[in-house]
């Protein structure tokens, strides 16, 4: 187990470094000049050269990349002499746009994106598993078909359409909820939930179908197993049979998708955040793209990759918890 974990963590670091390298290449090699972006519109050639040196862009590419990497682990000093700036431990550089450390910008926005992702995940698991299990228990009935087609239809709606319709219906016409603005969970839990309810719903509708289909398939399979008959024969209540014996064995594939989905969402839902005006990482990313703020774009990409890789690792470890046959 420990050995497995060490191996996986090493692989994880490797993947992250590879992703950092690819991202770095794309942004620093493709025709766009970060120095010009950092320097602004009224920039003299001398000043541009100065900025280039300050940002370390005059160094060979591999040096720049190594500096960037070591900055993440140990922090580094940007520039020299009187302009030197100490960039502390998880140093991802400074935003060209507002000169704030990228790490602080990301951590500032993370609670919003994380709230959005976790809330939506709870909702889509409830919707998806609920629909899937119900459909499986009523296999081949009208309920089953209606649920499955409904799930696919909901997932086929583009999220920007669902979001706009939700805003129109619930906020503009019915006036049931305020227009979303982020409230911190610690200060105002009720405001937090009511403001995020619509974005959660929009995302959940998109994701739930996959879970409905998957859980329906696994449930149908599991409920035909002999151990279900045994459980029933023991006189176990049907509810316990379904949840503890049926659902649990079908959880492995669902967990795999869940890890990927949640990991991917944690670093921001670009479209949903923009439509609902939530100040999360997705919007930070989009804004940074528009203004060619490369350190921020690079930071968001790395953070997103980090979440995906970690989520996959956690999922693999959870397999052993869910399925006693799995050992590492």
């Amino acid at each position: 187990m420990i050995l497995y974990l060490i191996r996986r963590l090493l692989a994880l670091a490797g993947v992250l470094i590879a992703i950092a390298a690819v991202t770095f290449l794309i942004f620093y090699v493709l025709p766009s000049d970060p120095a010009a972006a950092a320097c602004g519109k009224t920039c003299s050639p001398e000043r541009l050269a100065g900025v280039r040196e300050y940002l370390g862009l005059d160094l060979p590419l591999w040096r720049q990349f190594l500096d960037f990497l070591s900055g993440i682990f140990t922090g580094r000093t940007l520039g020299s002499g009187q302009y030197a700036v100490q960039c502390d431990f998880p140093c991802l550089g400074y935003s060209y746009e507002n000169s704030l450390p990228v790490w602080d910008l990301l951590m500032d926005r993370l609670p919003v994106s994380a709230s959005l992702a976790f809330g939506a995940a709870v909702l889509w698991l409830l919707l998806g598993l609920g629909a899937g299990v119900t459909a499986a228990l009523r296999k081949d009935t009208a309920t089953d078909k209606a649920l499955m087609v409904g799930a696919v239809a909901a997932a086929s709606l583009p999220v920007y359409f669902t979001s706009v319709m939700l805003i129109y219906g619930v906020i503009r016409v019915a006036g049931l909820l305020p227009y979303p603005s982020y409230h911190s969970f610690g200060e105002d839990p009720l405001g937090w939930a009511s403001n995020l309810l619509l974005p959660w719903t929009a995302l959940a509708l998109l994701y739930a179908a996959m879970y409905a289909r998957q859980s329906r398939g696994s449930m149908i399979e599991a409920m035909a197993e002999p151990y279900i008959r045994t459980a029933r024969a023991k006189g176990m209540p049907e509810r316990t049979v379904v949840v503890k014996h049926g659902l649990r064995s079908g959880m492995t594939p669902i967990l795999t998708i869940f890890g990927m989905d949640l990991g991917g969402l944690l670093a921001g839902a670009v479209i949903t955040e923009s439509i609902f005006g939530l100040p999360g990482i997705g919007r930070l990313f989009y804004g940074a793209l528009v203004s060619s703020d490369q350190p921020v774009v690079l930071g968001v990409t790395l953070l997103a990759a980090f979440f995906i890789v970690v989520a996959n690792l956690v999922v693999d470890l959870l397999y052993a918890v869910i399925d006693p046959r799995v050992r590492y």
């Binding site: 992703i19 766009s32 696919v152 583009p158 999220v159 706009v164 670009v270 793209l289 990409t301």
Partner: protein, 334 residues
């Protein structure tokens, strides 16, 4: 994973007719006679015909494909080109609102017009279908070809080839793909947007196909008929193309059909975000992005491209679901 799907080549050589190549005896022959000795593809086709949902979604898919292929002519039927302004269809005193009800739907403009410019929505939606489906299909082709090649190679050769390819799959799957696509598309400046989008979208999809194909290949490569071919002196290339490929084609076709709606959505999302197809060229996502601001004043403008996008994605998903149930009842799920 030992799947013996109807399409997985359970029996040996009388090999399935690849793709949709019309097998005349299957299409026209008396069903009673075929029932006993039907090949996997015939069985699949018969099963597909039995389901009404499949028939409807197949028709919708066909309509969309026809619409995309004939877009320049079909669009011209309405009498307008996608970029043509019609100042007579809008009300300059009402901020360029379309004249008439329902977003200006009239005999002259079958689906109404865009506010402000008065461009014909029918022509734009039809031409947008061409752009959206072209990108989706081309990206799917890249994904399927790369994925199948990588998957068969990894599964058949095993060893170091498998190790390298499998690591590459893991790595590609760890990329935050949407964020990456947006970033790549926004950095690239003067290139053909359609080609670029196809390449970028195609880049991240192949590991899914490769995994399915790899698993299938692993289960096929030690079947007797493959061994027989090997003993008979067939080279690796011949075995891969003649014996393995027909065997993996069932799951691959099912997976491919399910990839297309995802590709359509991705293209639309990227264009919606403004990093996809650039304005004079219409695409559904970009039309929706432009119309969001008008959803209250001119709802039809917003609803029409959304409905087209929705129907296309839904029809492809339903068709793909059915194909997967039939061609690959157990495998193919990550």
């Amino acid at each position: 994973m030992t799947t013996t799907a109807p399409g997985a080549g359970g029996q040996t050589p009388p090999a399935p007719v690849p793709g949709g190549a019309p097998a005349p005896e299957a299409a026209g022959a008396a069903p009673a006679a075929a029932a006993t000795g039907a090949g996997p593809w015939q069985l699949a086709r018969r099963e597909l015909r039995r389901r009404p949902a499949v028939r409807v979604s197949a028709c919708v898919v066909l309509l969309f494909v026809l619409m995309a292929v004939t877009a320049p002519w079909l669009g011209a039927l309405g009498g307008w080109t996608p970029g043509e302004f019609d100042k007579t269809a809008i009300d300059p005193y009402l901020g360029g609102q379309p004249l008439g009800s329902l977003g200006g739907i009239s005999p002259a403009h079958w689906l109404g017009v865009e506010p402000v410019t008065g461009r014909d929505l029918f022509s734009r939606v039809v031409n947008g279908a061409q752009v959206s489906l072209l990108i989706a299909f081309a990206a799917t082709a890249i994904v399927v070809i790369t994925g199948t090649a990588a998957g068969t190679a990894a599964g058949y050769f095993g060893g170091r080839t498998d190790a390298v390819l499998s690591r590459l799959m893991d790595l590609t799957m760890s990329f935050p793909s949407l964020i990456f696509m947006i970033a790549m598309l926004s950095v690239a400046k003067d290139v053909n947007r359609i080609v670029l989008m196809t390449a970028v979208i195609g880049l991240f999809g192949w590991p899914g196909v490769a995994r399915v194909v790899r698993g299938q290949t692993l289960s096929l490569k030690h079947r007797e008929y493959v061994d027989a071919a090997r003993v008979g002196g067939s080279g690796a290339w011949r075995i891969l193309t003649r014996d393995i490929l027909p065997g993996v084609s069932g799951p691959v076709i099912a997976y491919t059909t399910l990839l297309i709606p995802g590709m359509i959505s991705t293209e639309a999302a990227l264009s919606y975000l403004g990093v996809g197809v650039r304005p004079p060229t219409p695409s559904w996502g970009q039309m929706i992005a432009e119309s969001v601001a008008y959803y209250e004043t001119d709802p039809m403008y917003f609803v029409i491209p959304s409905v087209f996008l929705f129907l296309a994605v839904l029809a492809f998903t339903l068709l793909g679901d059915a194909l997967r149930d039939i061609l690959d009842p157990r495998g193919g799920r990550t």
